[in-house]
Symmetry: C2
Subunit: 249 residues, 2 copies
Amino acid sequence: MQNRNIASTFAKGLAVLGAFDGSAPVLSLAEIARRSSLDRAVARRLVLTLVDQGFVQSDGARGYRLTPRVLRFAGGYLGGRQVGRLVQPVLDRHAARVGAPISMAVLDGHDVLLLAQSTLQNSVVTFGFTLGSTLPLLHTSLGRMLLAMRPSEIAAELLATAPLQGRTPEALTDRRLIRAEVDQARSAGLCIARAQLEAGITGYAVPTGPEAVIGLSRAQGLGHDAQDDQAAIKALQLCAAELIQTGAV
Amino acid sequence: MQNRNIASTFAKGLAVLGAFDGSAPVLSLAEIARRSSLDRAVARRLVLTLVDQGFVQSDGARGYRLTPRVLRFAGGYLGGRQVGRLVQPVLDRHAARVGAPISMAVLDGHDVLLLAQSTLQNSVVTFGFTLGSTLPLLHTSLGRMLLAMRPSEIAAELLATAPLQGRTPEALTDRRLIRAEVDQARSAGLCIARAQLEAGITGYAVPTGPEAVIGLSRAQGLGHDAQDDQAAIKALQLCAAELIQTGAV
DNA sequence: TGCAGATTGTGCGTATATCGCACATATGTG
DNA sequence: CACATATGTGCGATATACGCACAATCTGCA
């Protein structure tokens, strides 16, 4: 059809693989076909191919689920960038110091995509978000910071098209107000978002390189404590400086 | 060709994606074609498809590298299994108690595939291994434990065919001796491997469910300290018991 | 500088793998 | 029990992927 340099069957297969987005652990053929906008027969053959290759397993009946083998792709990315060796220890060390988990993320499509996440025992805010999971672009400090780092045309385009996914009464629903927040993040070089995604949670983000940001969340005490903000931002900036030094990502 | 229910183009595309295995961050077309055993022209079209879909980016010249978007597949798996919410906190808590990072792994092909890894500030042994990376099956405690958990025909098959990748003078090179270690692991329900992969490092592993194992590594002091072994195994068993309770993986 | 070997870009005829409809069967829902 | 929805699969038509072949480009070495 379109371009002789694009293998459409492969593209469709990737869409099938992408249908397993984590929102449901097990999918039926009909569900897969719907999510990937493919003919059922086509989706079926592609799923069977994935089963044959060991990336998906059938539960005997009409359920299909990813196998751990899909993690190899992530391993290819993370290993190539040496994330485990260079980035993770830095995140862990600063997370321990500041007392909150630190995440690294990039922009991917209309989402914030988590690249790495320091873990921390006894962390009050138990994320539940892991590597490869996504967060809303417009209602997180990470997302707004990422927007601020893009060229203005691209940022404007994303601001206009990304879905509004705020989940709190305080969440901004006017894209112009979000734009103002993004502009402020751009000039300040950091972003603070209060209660946009989870009630009582404040998110902080700073850039680390041209593509990536790091951030942390913490429970908002009674009244905005400027000292808390200061400490969180300072910790992130130190961490970012160290990450930039390593040159990874 | 073979089976009308298998889309060969998609299978080839997956082979191309798998060519990015983390051993080199950036690959040329010729290298990709070689690794995936495909005709150069075919590999090229498949890579261009990956670029079109945003999973690979070209560095302008003749270099191709994965984009973070491939992590979405990992996110689909991890999110579906709720690894971030159910598994990670348990690993972190026990790792902090025992003072060493704990990894969870499954068997995938001829490799140990890392599913999750607790991080720990100030850990002496800095792994460098991350989620999705692989370890040798025959020369790690994790791998031998996984072998011990498989039906004997499958274990025998893997024992005979998996590559010998020991990297120390003490590493076993006789498959029969490794088989004896696996047999012992099966009857004991745990596995200890000394200096098989890294000199001076001892690995410990115990099962957690029918498919997965958890393990940790620590530097071997002078002389085998039975108390250290005891402590490591005990910690892993407690951790495994808790993981089995959660029902994840 | 110049040559040899390797890598890359791509056009094109042909064989065939893929598409997607359509029908039959299975499942499950009120 | 009937209706709605999901699944398995055969098949003809055709879009599509294959892979050779040639040209352009790059890389290293003498």
